[in-house]
Point group: C2
Chain length 224, copies 2
């Protein structure tokens, strides 16, 4: 395949979840090269820098429809565009966020999301003292208004940053409002109807892996 072929063509390819999770890492490295003025990069170079296997890198990047030219490699800006198109990051997705606490505020303020086509347009909370306040320019609205507003604004993505207790209610109201995908940061296993996408960011799961590995290392040292 010609590396100058449009990245628009292969939109319907499917990718495994591990591949999807690696694509932003490639994108970040490619952006770095782009800023340094590099036009072309080889698979081996990407693999070396990121500590991955070159065959894996080639296979991952192929899902975007872009194939590197032998002995030349990938055109950097073209590959970035192809990754963005594949992930849907070339179109802005508007999202509602429920839970205007410190994590919610951090996510609303995270500038990196703009590069990923994510635009958090409003925040909701049940805490009366927060309603009417502004969080980084977005008004905090009462949670009860979410379903109606989501329908009127055709919002498809919801972000939950509530404590454990409020998360299921937030999800229920999102689904009532026509939201199809939920990014859940609350420490809860949400119950949702079939067809609703839930992506969990479970900090406790990540901490479990870290704690267990650290415990092993320290124990081995003590034993040694």
């Amino acid at each position: 395949m010609d590396i100058t072929s449009s990245p628009q063509a292969p939109l319907h390819r499917s990718a495994s979840e591990p591949t999807l999770r690696r694509l932003p890492t490639y994108r970040r490295f490619l952006e770095q090269l782009h800023r340094q003025g590099r036009a072309v990069v080889s698979c081996t170079h990407i693999a070396d820098d990121l500590g991955l296997d070159p065959t894996q890198v080639r296979k991952d990047l192929a899902v975007t429809g872009i194939v590197g030219k032998p002995k030349v490699g990938y055109q950097v800006p073209m590959l970035i565009a192809a990754i963005d198109s594949f992930l849907g990051w070339d179109n802005a997705t508007e999202a509602f966020l429920v839970g205007a606490g410190s994590l919610g505020t951090a996510l609303i303020g995270y500038e990196g999301f703009r590069d990923h086509g994510l635009n958090i347009v409003a925040a909701f909370d049940v805490d009366e003292s927060k309603i009417g306040e502004k969080v980084r320019g977005r008004a905090v609205m009462p949670l009860s208004k979410l379903p109606n507003l989501a329908q009127r604004m055709h919002i498809h993505l919801g972000i939950i940053t509530t404590p454990e207790a409020g998360a299921q209610q937030a999800a229920d109201l999102m689904i009532e409002g026509g939201i199809r995908a939920i990014w859940n940061f609350a420490p809860v296993t949400l119950k949702v109807p079939e067809g609703i996408i839930v992506e969990n960011v479970q900090l406790s799961s990540s901490l479990a892996v870290l704690s267990n590995k650290l415990q092993d290392v320290l124990r081995k040292e003590e034993g040694a």
Copy 2:
């Protein structure tokens, strides 16, 4: 095995990463049952509620050394203690955090970490305007002081919540100070010596999975 056997015994068992990631979900459900006053729970009950396979649940929980009694199940408080012991959450682990921005502040303020034995004892930053300020009771110190303090306080765990640009420097100083495990929230692939544990929380990877799935769903609807 007797379900009343001590959860201390099997400390050296190893578990796969997917099992480790599921253990906090079991723990959360068990805590909920415990608050409701339930003393015993069956494998099937846990599996049903969390939408998992009962065989998987039995296998996962066996890594803690606790085996349920046939037709009775697990003693709830015993199983919670066994999970905590297995993950090292029964002992407080002190941690340093670098990057006292909004994400750092959110993590310092997250009360759930106390249940997981994580105690963030100090925050560091390079921003002069933040140094000397307090973030939820912790003084923000200059990053340059980290290696010396980490050594003196025998800190083994570091948390990075800096922007992309500052993350590698933060990691280097942590390692210089004897930190063995890094919980990295920055959008960077850290370069660390062998033997240093890095657990990445890459929000962009999580968003990639979500964006791609949402795009697929919306496209199918348009096509239908």
